[in-house]
């Protein structure tokens, strides 16, 4: 058990030994995360090579079969192989991760950098906007927008993008404000560099690290959101295979065919763990440089 004494007394050389061990573990996390995502990428890009059955293949002779060698994840009420549907669904869910975060990340980071550097009225307005968005539950807002536009993946991307760019902007704004105070920013101003040049070539590269890490986390979160909406019937629409939809398919068969919901859910967990291992690994690598 750690003593409650405070290790402030240790000299740098003494702490170095501990640090080396931590960095070795971080490296393996990064590899594991990357490996997981590669598996998912494979499932997304070439599912036909990996999945034993096509996703929509009905087999009325094998309804609601428990897991077996023929069907490792069992079958659903239409006789479709759950493993195959889960593999095919990876494509949709990874798309959700990318399209649900790409616009917010790029747009939000860009706007956040500008706001952070400029300040003033724009900054005040932005902070009111942030107040607003942290008060209203994110899910409720997204549901409202999707309900307005109609269910479906594209509308879900629109809904999510419309709201989550603010969080990226907030993060980048805070980072830029912190970087702005550092001496090298003053040096840039003194040398007469244009504002844009200072922001994008000097401040941004230093400020970008938290945003990249956040993006990794956000991708996992967007999959959770997308599958939640899929479960509620607002995201991907059946018969499209998406993990949330697959789980919803199994909702009425919980007691008789638990495998219908459980396995696709494990895929979500698997993906989430992959993203967070990757994110943590990148975080440790990037922080080591600073």
């Amino acid at each position: 058990m750690t003593d409650v004494v405070g290790q402030a007394v240790l000299q740098p050389a003494q702490l170095a030994a501990g640090g080396r061990a931590r960095r070795r573990r971080a490296g393996s996390g990064l590899l594991a995360g990357a490996a997981i995502l590669l598996v998912l990428l494979a499932c997304a890009v070439v599912p036909e090579r990996i999945a034993p059955y096509p996703p929509h293949a009905f087999d009325y002779n094998a309804l609601l079969q428990p897991p077996s060698w023929a069907h490792p994840f069992g079958t659903d009420n239409f006789g479709r192989d759950i493993l195959s549907r889960t593999i095919w669904a990876a494509r949709i869910d990874l798309q959700i991760a990318i399209f649900g975060t790409l616009f917010p990340a790029v747009f939000g980071t860009f706007v956040g950098a500008l706001i952070g550097y400029t300040g003033g009225l724009v900054d005040t307005l932005f902070r009111r906007l942030v107040d607003l968005l942290i008060t209203v539950p994110f899910l409720v807002l997204v549901i409202a927008i999707v309900a307005a536009l109609g269910p479906g993946l594209l509308n879900m991307y629109i809904a999510v993008s419309a709201v989550s760019w603010v969080f990226y902007a907030r993060l980048m704004r805070a980072e830029i404000i912190a970087q702005k105070r550092r001496d090298y920013a003053d040096a840039g101003r003194v040398m007469g560099y244009s504002r844009a040049r200072i922001i994008f070539r000097h401040l941004l590269p230093n400020a970008i690290t938290p945003s990249v890490i956040f993006w990794m986390t956000d991708m996992a979160l967007v999959i959770l959101l997308g599958s939640s909406l899929g479960y509620l019937g607002l995201g991907a629409q059946p018969p499209t295979a998406e993990w949330g939809v697959l789980i919803a398919d199994g909702k009425n068969f919980m007691t008789t065919a638990w495998w219908m919901s459980i396995f696709p859910g494990l895929a979500i967990v698997f993906t989430g763990v992959g993203f967070s291992l990757l994110g943590d690994g990148i975080a440790i690598r990037l922080r080591r440089r600073t």
């Binding site: 539950p137 309900a147 479960y231 979500i268």
Partner: protein, 312 residues
């Protein structure tokens, strides 16, 4: 007192936010395609009947006028009448909100009950296997969608072992707690993972702080050092985090109420969005908003109480 000044400013901020929410909600509702009158009357509605309903509901006035009416009524705490159910919105909210409040409170308490001891164990045995296991499980539950956790709990504990009911609520407070335990636990598991991560790193930071060493060097018992010095300092940021996560608790409540079939305000919100019931959506959002803001206020006050550096 300086503290009152901060709180006063906060209240004004809240009012501004609530106003903005009103605008947002109003705009969103009126952007929704679909006509509540038509939804209500369905196929039976003749054009004349729909027009009459429009007039009754005040939907035929211009938008600015409708908004003004909306604000005026809010000011007098009259949230209007549900478009689809023809009962006062206030009544609906009073019926359904307490259940959601009970659910979220239980979730918050359970989350603390889970997170605090585990964070301590993880922090005190940092780097050991207990720490790794705790962090691993916490990471796992963060990667699970709320509805999935709910389903697993349903399948195993309710349908399978029959320790808990499968859904709905009971009659009376005590029964409600029993019925809401699984849904509360569902929400608590994700929330506790977030709190755990934060509390663990706060604890680790504080454990290595010089004042903890000084306290031990004074000859204080371990229990006193951990309780009075370590926990108090480490919990400041975690309490704040808990408060900030209120709105995601509400969002999670929406999902959980759906999975467990609970007639709470979350379900009401979703149903009303789908049935284009403007009045309920507006009223409920305003109420939720005010509640969340009050929680933020409480968090600010609590922070100032726990950390005397804030007030200066």
């Amino acid at each position: 007192m300086y503290l009152l000044g901060i709180l006063g400013r906060r209240v004004l901020q809240i009012m501004a936010t609530v106003l903005l929410v009103a605008v947002l909600v109003f705009t969103l509702m009126h952007l929704l395609p679909g006509d509540p009158a038509q939804v209500m009357l369905g196929d039976r509605g003749s054009t004349a009947a729909i027009a009459q309903l429009h007039h009754d509901l005040g939907l035929d006035r211009s938008i600015p006028v409708q908004f003004w009416e909306f604000l005026r009524r809010i000011a007098t705490l009259n949230l209007g009448e549900s478009v689809t159910m023809r009962i006062p919105v206030t009544q609906l909210i009073v019926e359904r909100l307490p259940i959601t409040l009970l659910l979220t409170t239980m979730a918050a308490l359970l989350a603390l009950l889970i997170a605090v001891p585990l964070a301590f164990v993880a922090a005190l045995r940092q780097g050991g296997w207990a720490d790794a296991v705790i962090r691993g499980i916490s990471q796992l539950s963060l990667s699970m969608p709320v509805f999935y956790i709910g389903l697993i709990l349903l399948i195993t504990l309710a349908a399978g072992l029959r320790w808990f009911p499968v859904g709905g609520i009971g009659s009376g407070f005590a029964q409600d707690i029993y019925y809401l335990f699984l849904p509360g636990l569902t929400l608590a598991l994700s929330l506790s993972a977030i709190l755990l991560r934060n509390l663990r790193s706060s604890l680790i930071e504080v454990l290595h702080a010089e004042f903890v060493g000084f306290a031990t060097a004074k000859g204080l018992r371990r229990r006193v050092v951990l309780g009075r010095h370590v926990l108090r300092n480490a919990s400041i940021s975690t309490v704040t985090l808990l408060g900030l996560n209120i709105s995601s608790l509400v969002g999670g409540a929406v999902i959980t109420e759906t999975v467990f079939g609970i007639p709470g305000a979350g379900r009401l919100m979703v149903d009303s969005i789908f049935s284009r019931d403007y009045a309920v959506v507006q009223g409920l959002t305003m109420v939720l908003c005010v509640l969340v803001s009050v929680v933020f206020l409480a968090v600010d006050a609590l922070q100032a109480l726990l950390d005397p550096r804030v007030a200066t």
